[in-house]
């Protein structure tokens, strides 16, 4: 598997949760926003199992909204549990990415 897509796999659910916490969004729109911010997905549909798990854990809630000229769109909004979890995940991400940077920089202080 492509290395960059493997990296993304580890944080994609956090990214989706972050997008949803900004404002309620639907699948296609989330993929679009990720791409705009520099993250490309190997397959767009790979977000759906992740959204399903986030919803199962109670972090987000899906709801259908009628759309003119097309099938209804399933939007997701963030729940209270999701907001809490997102903060934890983001802190964890900062810790890990700082650690990775330290490793890559050769541990300047050592």
């Amino acid at each position: 598997m492509e290395h960059s897509s493997q990296l993304l796999k580890g944080v994609l659910d956090m990214c989706l949760l972050a997008l949803i916490s900004e404002e309620p969004s639907y699948g296609y729109e989330m993929v679009d926003k990720l791409q705009q911010r520099g993250l490309a997905l190997v397959s767009e549909g790979s977000i759906y199992p992740l959204l399903s798990r986030l919803q199962k854990k109670g972090y987000i809630q899906g709801y259908f909204v009628e759309s003119s000229g097309g099938p209804p769109r399933k939007y997701y909004r963030i729940e209270a549990d999701g907001k809490e979890r997102l903060i934890e995940w983001v802190e964890e991400w900062h810790r890990v990415s700082a650690g990775v940077s330290e490793v890559l920089n050769g541990g300047d202080d050592e």
Partner: protein, 267 residues
């Protein structure tokens, strides 16, 4: 590989995904919701000039099954063991409804016969009564020896006609009651027997798809096959997904490919 998505290819993808989801036991409401969500994404992607592979990847079935696995998993309400699938299938075919129809038809015909089919000419009534009861007896014995559930409805029809003959129903009405009772009884019984053969005991791939297993030897698509343990059975297994599945992982069987199972990990 198509460059852009046609309506037909979108429908084809949606249909294939929907059947894959049903195969692994996802309920109809969820299938419908997932289909709508996927359709919305595919159409918007098509409008932006993207091809199908951009959305569902190179393997539609793998995509469908990965999504399905995320819907099922340990917290899922349905447990798709073979016995449960058989019960669910037979229940959904309205066997109660069929029984009610048969009983209703027989009772209805008998009531009509009693109300409108009485005769004052009792000269041959005893003969008819005995004839029907004897016929019922012979047919019942025949049913016992053949055990085909074929003579039974006729035996019951004859018995009912015999009883009605006792209370003075006209021979023509008796014949109608016999014919209609036997006919409905046969219909109801045949459907029940067929259901019993077809679905009560699903066999082969129908039984296995949708069941859970545990990985005993690591499964990785590129490195040949691994092994899983499903109930008491040991199977070789492979996956269409890229990531390796480690021993101890619970998986969902999505396909039987020859002598191997195709699985996806459950969350």
């Amino acid at each position: 590989m198509e460059v852009t998505m046609s309506d037909k290819s979108v429908e084809s993808i949606l249909d294939r995904c929907s059947s894959a989801w049903r195969d692994v036991g996802i309920d109809e409401t969820a299938v419908s919701d997932m289909r709508t969500e996927l359709e919305s994404h595919l159409r918007e992607a098509a409008a932006a000039g993207k091809n199908a592979e951009t959305v569902v990847g190179p393997d539609v079935l793998a995509f469908a099954n990965a999504w399905a696995a995320s819907k099922l998993g340990p917290e899922a309400v349905q447990l798709r063991s073979a016995a449960d699938r058989g019960r669910a299938l037979s229940g959904s075919h309205g066997s109660t409804g069929r029984l009610m129809t048969v009983v209703g038809a027989i009772v209805g015909v008998a009531v009509l016969a009693v109300l409108f089919g009485r005769t004052d000419d009792t000269s041959n009534q005893d003969a008819w009564t005995w004839s029907y009861f004897v016929a019922a007896g012979v047919l019942a014995v025949g049913e016992i020896f053949t055990a085909a559930f074929f003579l039974l409805p006729f035996a019951i029809g004859a018995a009912i006609a015999g009883v009605l003959a006792l209370i003075g129903v006209h021979p023509w009405a008796l014949l109608a009651v016999f014919a209609i009772s036997s006919g409905f009884g046969l219909w109801g019984l045949q459907r029940w027997a067929q259901r019993d053969a077809d679905e009560q005991h699903p066999v082969g791939a129908n039984r296995i798809v949708g069941m859970r297993a545990v990985v005993t030897e690591s499964i990785e698509r590129r490195h040949g096959v691994g092994r899983v343990r499903m109930e008491t059975e040991d199977w070789r297994a492979t996956t269409d997904l890229d990531a390796a599945i480690e021993p101890g992982t619970e998986v969902l069987v999505t396909e039987v490919r020859g002598t191997r199972l195709v699985v996806v990990p459950l969350p």
